[in-house]
Amino acid sequence: MADAVSLRQRYGEDAAIYAGGTELLLAMKLGIARWPHLIDIKPIDQLRRVAATKDLLRIGATVTHWELERDPVVAKALPALARLEANVANIRVRAAGTLAGNLAFAEPHADPPALLVALGARVVLESAAGSRTLLVGEFITGMYQTALGPGELIVAIEIPLPARDVRMAYVKFKVLERPSLAVAAVATIRDGRFVGAPSVVIGAVDEVPRAVPTADFASADVRDPRTAEALAEAARAAVDPSDDLAGSADYKRHLVGVFVQRALGSLIAGAA
């Protein structure tokens, strides 16, 4: 680990951190990006682990989608994440690609960011100067842009483990392998009402995961059709879609409303 940090400091922007390579090698093959050096962090034992404490799940930087999909702790504590991981890209990308690499690349049409933001997950970064922790929503700053400094590397993703009665949903619409849009929702529902405000995050529509302002929905009756429509409207208003190969802006805005209602339905049904 110390070697990786010192190599990162020595080479700065001349080196890329290399783990699964599923995005990095593609970019290099296409000639989009060029690095004289790759720092392979896969041999570092401590980065390979998934560890849970009573209230925190810590996912090492080289843990793959494949491993998360099969991890018993993830399946039990964060079933929505396990299911999301089982549906990232395709089996070969899942076998090689890592969750940390997915975040580091900050491709807007990626699955994990929306749910991680909704869960309040953090990215743990390390450099020669020490370590710091950023919320995933702070770490991803734009399309293919992150707050990762030239001397830093991701060492882990930390996810606060939700209380037992917290429900979570992740629904997406995709044409090919990447989501055209995704909705992550995390909430506690008791006696048919939200306990506090639900967390609703729209992924793959804007350049960064977009949290929907939901303060007005604290204690809202979840089965009231007006709640569903108002939540859909709040989500449509929160995003700023653009026309691209995944659809026109109007189409995507419409689908955001539809998928927010589906996510709400999934929360009500108690599906994880």
Binding site: G21, T22, L25, N90, I91, R92, V93, A96, E177
Partner: protein
């Protein structure tokens, strides 16, 4: 570019090979005459280049050859038993099932399909059709319409069940 010697178990045989750092696994195996592994999309989308690295399916077009150091690589050529001298090799149950079920036409995607299916059956010997479809949705075939491929994998799983 640096060159280094790597040691790998390739289709069951230990090999030591010198490779340059930037060489891709697909180019390494094809340079060794194992040309069953096909390049197609070159972007990890189509699955034609699927090989198994320590049993897991990977896109050999986007995997560095040096990743194979100290690990096992399986390609389509490693599946059939050589058989007795002078006799035809005995095909793997997946290979025989793909033939019997007409699960290929041009055949270009087939090695990748079979390697992906092998990884599935190694982990889950008796998957249902839905599990096969989910596992193999990243393997693209432009000829068959997929149905015969799913049937072939089901068939191969069934044949394995009947083996002693």
């Amino acid at each position: 570019m640096a060159r280094r010697e790597i040691g790998l178990r390739l289709n069951g045989s230990n090999r030591r090979i010198e490779v340059e750092d930037q060489v891709l696994l697909i180019d390494l195996v094809r340079s060794l005459g194992l040309v069953g592994t096909k390049l197609s999309c070159d972007t990890q989308v189509c699955g034609a280049c699927t090989v198994l690295l320590d049993g897991r399916p990977v896109s050999s077009c986007t995997t560095l050859a040096i990743e194979a150091d100290g690990r096992a690589v399986e390609t389509i050529e490693g599946l059939a038993d050589a058989g007795a001298p002078g006799r035809a090799p005995k095909l793997h149950p997946l290979q025989q099932a793909f033939i019997d079920r007409f699960a290929f036409q041009c055949g270009y995607c087939t090695p990748g399909m079979i390697m992906a299916a092998k990884a599935l059956l190694d982990e889950r010997p008796h998957p249902d059709a839905a599990a096969i479809q989910h596992w193999m949705e990243g393997n693209i075939c432009r000829c068959t319409g997929y149905q015969t491929i799913v049937e072939a994998v089901l068939d191969a799983a069934d044949r394995s069940r009947r083996l002693p």
